[in-house]
């Protein structure tokens, strides 16, 4: 049994998967109609300028030559240059990803704290009033448009009550801390700037609540189903007949076996959050990956699209790997080697 070699092997597979996805997206972007240079320069730009910029980016070369260049770059860890920002895609992503990571992690925490207890209570009180109430709340969560909820929360907590700050990562007058990790919360703590930290947390509350609530609905439903599944099993009856306290039954005999599907869902939810959430980012002026990728797609910004998809593919693969490793930790019957 060697978890280490398992992870190594999975990482190799991961590279193949990422390469495959990158190749597919590369060719899709090149084949679809649309001219990124023309779109960026606008209708005014004289044709010779358009041609010149196109040559600068190498878009005048045959597709297979562009693909070879792309592969060479990829192995060097480069993703090419974005047409719309005129910078290396990797630099753009380095700048955007921390904001998305911060928001996604905060949202996941909110989602777990709301979703898992809701799911467990709902399952234990199956078909009771509380169960119906919780299911209603989570139905509301999945069916409510995120941009609407975001605006309403801003309207109430920022505009009317004035107890939470408006959009953005920090107040306009608060200087951002020196960039170490790019995570404003962590950087402000590392530099001992406690006021900035407080402000950054306050700015995280609303967007994280919106995204977290949305995701918690999904988590609650899976948790409920998973716990119900476990409740039907013999070992729970046995534990009851043994006279164990209900608290002990819940923690040792119900939640633990129910965790595997929940962890799977958490992985998916986290992956989804890390892709960036374009609507939430737009409402809250959050400089994340979602708005970057959306803009890239509108302008058919080839390198930015492919680069973004490569990053998302890596994120999903890594999360999947973590989830699989967690399986073996939760359930010793699952072994890798």
């Amino acid at each position: 049994m060697s978890l280490y070699s398992y992870i190594l092997r999975r990482s190799l597979y991961m590279m193949i998967v990422v390469l495959g996805i990158a190749t597919i997206v590369f060719f899709i972007t090149r084949i679809l109609p649309g001219d990124p240079v023309g779109a960026i320069l606008g209708p005014q730009a004289p044709p010779d300028v358009v041609d010149k910029v196109r040559r600068e980016y190498g878009f005048d070369k045959p597709i297979y030559v562009q693909y070879i260049d792309f592969l060479i770059n990829l192995f060097k860890g480069e993703l090419g240059k974005s047409v719309s920002t005129n910078r290396p895609v990797i630099e753009d992503i380095k700048e955007r990803f921390p904001a998305t990571f911060e928001l996604a992690t905060a949202s996941l925490i909110v989602a777990i704290v709301i979703g898992i207890p809701m799911g467990i209570i709902s399952a234990l009180r199956k078909d009771g009033a509380l169960d119906h109430l919780i299911r209603l709340i989570s139905l509301f969560g999945v069916s409510m448009p995120v941009f609407w909820l975001g605006l309403i929360l801003l309207l109430i907590f920022y505009f009317r009550l004035g107890i939470l700050p408006g959009p953005g990562r920090l107040d306009p007058y608060i200087p951002s801390p020196p960039r170490i990790t790019g995570l404003v919360t962590l950087d402000s703590l590392l530099t001992g700037n406690f006021d900035v930290f407080k402000n950054a947390i306050a700015h995280l509350i609303l967007p994280a609540t919106v995204l977290g609530y949305f995701s918690s609905a999904y988590i609650a439903r899976v948790t409920r189903a998973s716990v119900l599944e476990v409740l039907r099993q013999e070992h729970v009856k046995f534990a009851r007949s043994k006279g164990l306290s209900s608290g002990a039954i819940l923690t040792r005999h119900i939640i633990k076996p129910a965790l595997i599907p929940i962890i799977t869902v958490l992985g998916l939810v986290y992956g989804g959050l890390l892709e960036g959430a374009v609507l939430t980012e737009t409402i809250f002026g959050w400089p994340g990956l979602g708005s970057y990728l959306t803009r890239a797609m509108i302008y058919m910004d080839y390198n930015a699209i492919v680069g973004g998809v490569v990053i998302i593919a890596i994120i999903y693969s890594v999360i999947n790997l973590i989830v699989d490793v967690l399986y073996s930790y939760i359930d010793p019957r699952i072994k890798y080697g």
């Binding site: 679809l32 779109a39 939470l164 959009p167 947390i201 099993q233 070992h235 076996p257």
Partner: protein
């Protein structure tokens, strides 16, 4: 399955393994409690925060800054970057909105040109200092303009169209600069390009000190400034905020606003909340519905001004039907211009049908076309299509108000018998096809890069430069020659008369139905004084003149 392994594992090692979900839950709970207690601590601070927002020496602007690419004058070409560069640098000449027909002196205090109009001499104002204290001389202007030609980036064509090579720009002494042009050019036209931010003056010593390779400091200047303008670029967090700080050495005296914060707020609804709350002073980019809601709100002022942007329908003359001028005129008479402005744009547009926008030299106020179904039908019958025909209309997908306008035009043309199929396309795809001359009808816009009528006249009239006339395959030598003549005309009033001729001719024969001129809105708090809107999308906006009434909010 019944004797499940985890049960066994659980009883054999109670503490260690079963702790995991609990440990995670406890950590999460602590985090949540911690964040909510910050929230409670924070809850006592908003009053203070609001007062800060009305600081008299700081201006906060909410707008979408995602288009910005570079703050290097030789590269900047997008709305946001051009507007910011104009605060950081000076140019030889400038425009003072709302007048965009005549330039005013800035770094150049006077200028003259040779009788044939090809050799220009500029006298540079003495005593101007860059933000770092260096004196500004003609040598620096020479370096800056040459730099644009050498780097040859996106916006370099503005200068390249008149100046052949860098060596044609020469500082003959510390305060005199001469520029040799390729050919005779209308003085107003050349000066209007010198007023664009591409011609801004960069401090060569700072640029070269930060050069990497042969980029003449362009990489560093992307998010730093080295100018003599009223502000210095302090910080640009992409898609977050741009911060400008007052230049203490500014030659016209330091501006009243010491700090300008341009916050990235892409969502209009959020902009509106911030403005109403007083956390931002100016909001660019509110929708017409929001503007109407804010019109009578106390403490908020709305400014409304036409910008140099026309919306038009282009008709590709290569198409069998559209090649017939009677058909094109029928389309011009089938469109309900007033209905578009009244119902779709809610009055937020100016009725213009000629190709040079207000308030430029040569603006032609004629609006002969109006909706006349019978006349349109009759013209179609005369053209040999009494039963109409089928045609496609391309427009940018998902864009507003283009989508509503395209649908309206489909209905308008249906009434005269022309069956329009709507072809919404991604912008990238639409412009590519348009450039390839492969669209039939297209709903598009045209913004003027610099406020000279030549910019529009060439695009709409001269097919030889491969812009709009060429894309619609309208190869009309008569108007193309007139456009070239006006381009070279030294006398202002003769030139104005030529543009009258050009606009009248295109109005009658051109393959365009100009729908309207775009009107923009800016909403601001009433404590913001002396904001003069710029019809040229902020290219000539001067934020340094703004000052704030020191109002404290109750």
């Amino acid at each position: 399955m019944k004797e499940s392994g985890d049960n066994m594992g659980a009883s054999s090692k109670p503490g260690s393994r079963l702790g995991l979900p609990w440990i995670i839950s406890i950590i999460l709970l602590i985090l949540l409690v911690a964040s909510w207690s910050y929230f409670l601590i924070y809850a006592r601070q908003p009053q203070q925060q609001i007062q800060l927002a009305t600081r008299p020496d700081t201006l906060v602007i909410a707008m979408d800054i995602s288009d910005a690419v570079s703050m290097d004058p030789a590269v900047a070409y997008e709305f946001t970057s051009v507007m910011v560069v104009n605060q950081l640098y000076d140019k030889l000449v400038d425009f003072e909105p709302p007048d965009l027909t005549r330039v005013v002196p800035e770094v150049a205090e006077s200028w003259s040109y040779s009788p044939d109009g090809t050799l220009w001499t500029f006298k540079i104002r003495q005593g101007i200092k860059f933000a770092n204290g260096d004196p500004l001389t003609a040598k620096d202007v020479e370096y800056s303009l040459r730099r644009v030609l050498i780097l040859s980036k996106t916006a370099a064509w503005l200068l390249q169209q008149f100046i052949a090579k860098p060596e044609d720009i020469v500082a003959t002494d510390n305060y005199t600069l001469t520029i040799k042009l390729k050919e005779k050019v209308a003085p107003d036209l050349f000066l209007s390009v010198l007023a664009f931010t591409t011609s801004a003056i960069v401090n060569p010593r700072e640029a070269e000190a930060h050069a990497s390779g042969n980029d003449m400091g362009s990489g560093w200047l992307t998010d730093h400034s080295a100018g003599s303008g009223p502000y210095i670029l302090e910080k640009w967090d992409r898609n977050s905020e741009i911060v400008l700080r007052a230049n203490p050495n500014y030659w016209r005296g330091p501006p009243s606003i010491k700090t300008i914060i341009i916050k990235h707020v892409p969502e209009p609804a959020t902009q509106m909340l911030l403005l109403q709350k007083g956390d931002v002073d100016i909001a660019f980019g509110l929708t017409i519905d929001q503007i109407q809601q804010l019109k009578n709100v106390k403490g908020i002022r709305i400014l409304e001004y036409p910008v140099l942007q026309l919306a038009y329908i282009g008709m590709n003359v290569n198409n069998t039907y559209l090649s017939n001028e009677k058909v094109r005129t029928a389309i011009k008479y089938a469109i309900d211009y007033d209905g578009i402005i009244r119902d779709i744009l809610k009055g937020g547009a100016m009725k213009v049908q000629t190709i040079i926008p207000y308030p430029l030299l040569g603006f032609n106020p004629a609006t002969p076309y109006y909706r006349d179904v019978n006349k349109a039908k009759q013209l179609l019958a005369e053209a040999g299509y009494p039963n109409g025909f089928d045609i496609e209309l391309a427009y940018p997908a998902g864009a507003h108000p283009q989508e509503e306008i395209a649908q309206k035009i489909q209905r308008d043309l249906a009434e005269v018998g022309i069956r329009v199929t709507l072809r919404p396309m991604a912008a990238a795809e639409m412009y590519q096809k348009y450039r390839q001359q492969s669209l039939q009808l297209v709903l598009a816009g045209w913004g003027s890069d610099y406020p000279d009528p030549d910019n529009n006249a060439k695009a709409f009239g001269d097919y030889r430069i491969k812009q709009l006339a060429w894309r619609n395959m309208w190869y009309d030598d008569k108007v193309a020659d007139l456009v070239e003549k006006a381009y070279k005309e030294l006398d202002r009033s003769t030139r104005e008369a030529l543009y009258k001729q050009i606009t009248d001719y295109i109005l009658e024969h051109g393959p365009y139905a100009v729908l309207y001129q775009v009107v923009q809105y800016v909403a601001m708090r009433t404590w913001v004084e002396n904001f003069v809107p710029d019809p040229s999308f902020g290219t000539y906006l001067d934020l340094s003149r703004i000052y704030k009434e020191p109002v404290l909010k109750e």
